[in-house]
């Protein structure tokens, strides 16, 4: 039986600095078809030129509405500048568009991960169990631990975690059961899946590829060749993310 895959670290629609062509939605869809990926949590990436989060999110919602296999992961920003809808309104809007998570990028959107500057956002997301995606380029593992400690009901997903971070990611996952790790680019740890499962079980591990930056087959082979049980493989491949999706409070 083919293992069902839910890619939580992928996207399309953005342009890398110095390039003229965006990553095409069709490219993302073709890659999913080639690798047999059933569902994907998608962001607008590369995102360095996405300076209007409302416009970026609207483009994302528009594309996902036409493709049920795509689950949007919009950009969330604290409403501390009084220039955006308040945090509850943002989160309700995300869920109205069937968002599977929301991503933050503090430096890009000019805010800081201080409790006084961001907790209203995390409180709104925690209240509806909407997972928070924390890309390594924007959110440190230290900050993920701090947020996870303050909001134990908020599922957090660490993406773009480096292979040299194993000494830190393992105790982070152990200490905070609400933190999850994408096994995608750039987490290339020898027997990392096997040993992480031995330490904390499979529930906090999620399949992500790192498309379009990385060759997505790398995450696939890392999962498929891991010496783990089929049950654990299915959880990482899709089951854990589907559990997080089902836990969202959609009213």
């Amino acid at each position: 039986m083919t293992t069902r895959l839910f890619d939580i670290q992928t996207g399309f629609g953005g342009v890398k600095k110095g390039q003229t062509t965006p990553i095409a939605l069709e490219d993302c869809l073709e890659t999913m078809a080639k690798l047999g990926i059933a569902k994907a949590l998608v962001r607008i990436i590369p995102d360095a030129q996405e300076v209007d989060v409302c416009m970026a999110n609207d483009r994302l919602f528009g594309a996902c509405a036409k493709h049920p296999e795509l689950v949007p992961c919009p950009i969330a920003v604290p409403a501390t500048g009084r220039d955006l809808p308040d945090e509850d309104t943002q989160v309700v809007g995300f869920l109205d568009h069937n968002s599977g998570a929301a991503v933050i990028r503090p430096a890009q959107d000019y805010w800081q991960l201080t409790p006084w500057g961001s907790d209203d956002l995390f409180k709104a997301m925690a209240g509806r169990a909407l997972p928070l995606v924390c890309p390594g380029g924007y959110v440190s593992l230290r900050d993920i631990g701090a947020i996870a400690g303050r909001f134990p009901d908020l599922p957090l997903i660490a993406t773009e975690v480096g292979y040299r971070d194993h000494r830190t990611i393992l105790p982070l996952l152990e200490t905070f059961p609400n933190v999850h790790l994408s096994i995608g680019n750039n987490w290339t740890v020898h027997r990392g899946l096997e040993k992480t499962i031995e330490a904390i079980g499979p529930e906090q591990l999620l399949f992500g590829t790192g498309f379009p930056a990385a060759e997505p087959t790398m995450a696939l082979t890392q999962l498929m060749y891991a010496d783990i049980s089929d049950e654990h493989r299915r959880l990482i491949a899709a089951g854990n993310m589907e559990r997080l999706q089902n836990a969202r409070v959609i009213q």
Binding site: K34, V189, P212, A214
Partner: protein
Amino acid sequence: METLLETARQGLPLMNSAVLDLHGHFGRYAQAIPDLTAKGLVGVLDRVGVKSIVVSHMQCISWHASEGNDEVLEATRAHPGRILGYALAFPVFSAAARHELERRLGEGFVGLKLHNSNGIPYNHPGYADALALANERRLPVLLHTWGTQQDFEIVRELAGRYPDCAFLMAHAGAGDGAKRCIQLAGEFEHVYLDTAFSAGPRGLVEELVAGAGAGKVVFGSDCYFFSLTQQIGKVVGSRISDEEKRCILAGNAEAILRRADITPLPIP
């Protein structure tokens, strides 16, 4: 006939377990590597379908080269034919480096690995005698590179001076150096491009193959510094033919080992 990608999608061993990995490591390193055992490494080879991996010790960046070679020797003897060894040589004295390589070749090592993170360039006089021996024996010489101008200049210099070695440029394409790697591989028949790269940028394998030809690209995982199960994916999933993938995953490495009169043992 099932494609390599279809085989990998099911998690089944590739190519009747004939893959050769010319860039492996053994031993403890500064970052956490959760399984340092030779048995764990061979288990990974079995699952992916890798016949043999050629490893150097993590001490390749340090002056503890000989101690590292001892640990690799133990692993090669515990798993003959599955784990093969690159000897390390630290260039305190050129004669000593050559002696270390000579001794290790006598113990069954199959090549030489040099790393410049110790701050010593590969054209340092202390390496000259070891490289001369590698040239006499037509050995594979794996050089850590990261796309710097100095890397290319020195590899070009060595390739000109030692025409019978097979020089493997590790991490080909890193540091935005793909075009210069391709250029060097085109200039010298005995310069090959190694695929090990943690991030595995999408399209890089295709670019190397388009520029240098599939016959000049060799599979290296950097395992267990990286995960072999992850690194194999960039070749298997690349948009090139299965025939080209087979060259990269086995054919080219077989030819490189054969020219040095090295025939890995069949899997027991």
